[in-house]
Symmetry: none
Subunit: 142 residues, 4 copies
């Protein structure tokens, strides 16, 4: 078992939201899942729309399910949209193939995943990467 | 719109987990939804089993969906199990009718709901009520 | 990360089926999931009915999702059927609350889960426990 | 009823994984279904991402459901994406229309299907075909 857990997840969420505020981004949802795809922590800021948690979750869940960041899933979707729609159904519906779902690595092993939604996909990914770095872990966005 | 939001949700989650620790309860998931049933914040402690977030969510989501605490839903289930199973299907499956899903009131108005899962249902409810009190709000467990 | 993986899962499946044959049980499905609830290995014997894999899976998946063997889930179902039906919906439908879903522990940590279906629930559980023992691991059926 | 069953499925899975290792492919999930679309055997190797079983299953299940290999489903998707997305919904979501889902024929009759996921779709298909050949059966990838 990795020691990746709630303590690291809190650092990631806080640092991701700090980064979003420093860059004056739109209200954001940030979510952290463990290596099995199960939620550790999530926050949705005031003013973020109703389902931003679900979108952030689906970026993260799709990424950890298929073993690549959601930016790589977007590349696949651009080439074979039918693969991504089929995969989404096969894994239970939670797969959004745009940037913002980033694998978390510790000593080269995938220990979890972080997702964000609220601003542009590129900005969502940026705050996630900042959050992961703040926890002293490695981000793999694609 | 109520001012109930992420600031209050953080106080609730932290106080709920502090209460669980003070009483030496099992690892816990705690979740806060707004009045529309949409997630504001959630944490699942290290050692809580995979789907404790989903169970805590289903207590809270069932409660806010039907406008009563999940203890009241349990009473209804004891009398009319077929009502609760039908209602669960009707609202999309997320309804667990045991204590631990507690409405949050501010000045008499429902502004959100809190759910917990990890220890006994009665203990789950106790930590949720403590969390809501710590935020200066009113808990309605049934 | 635990070292529990395909090598151990193969030992468990083979030993479970050997035990079923030695006791002249009905054709059986046996399934092994990792700690995150994801499939490692499964076999359904010739003559086992169409959906025995799904039943064995739902015993195992329910157990690992809630952190207790499916015998403990049965006890809960006998007391509060509405909890189990609600929990089944909340975790996505795969929860069968009868014996035969057994947690796998290594040095006290849950590293996976094994499920079986084909004969009586008690016999299904017996072959699973024999399989886990053959791999040198600890079975927790409730 | 065909004699196609667990004995042949074990040969297929083992030979498919041997082929993957000989070609130094990424960790792989391989799955065998009977003519009714019901699981006979499956293995997911250590290091394959969480949902590789589900993807491999959806290639195989889509193929046996529509009576053609998943390479033929990909051709259809390239021409009529709306047919494939509609068919996926209609059969319950488990249809991934890329190579790697291959029908198994014995004396000209379809007796089952094999799916794999882990490396490129072309490589996934190659290991499946090698597995089917090792069992003395005929592969129909499209």
């Amino acid at each position: 078992m990795s020691t990746f857990g709630l303590a690291a997840a809190r650092v990631i969420v806080a640092a991701a939201l700090d980064t979003a505020h420093a860059e004056d981004l739109k209200p954001m949802a940030v979510i952290v899942l463990d290596a099995g795809g199960h939620l550790i922590a999530a926050e949705r800021e005031d003013g973020a729309s109703n389902k931003r948690f679900e979108i952030a979750h689906a970026k993260a869940y799709g990424a950890i399910s298929l073993g690549m960041g959601s930016r790589a899933l977007m590349s696949r979707a651009e080439q074979q949209a039918y693969f991504i729609s089929g995969a989404a159904s096969a894994i239970g519906g939670a797969l959004v193939a745009v940037p913002g779902g980033v694998l978390v690595l510790d000593d080269g092993a995938v220990v979890g995943v972080v997702g964000a939604s609220g601003d542009t996909s590129d900005n969502d990914e940026k705050v996630v990467i900042a959050g992961i770095a703040a926890a002293g872990l490695t981000a793999q966005p694609d």
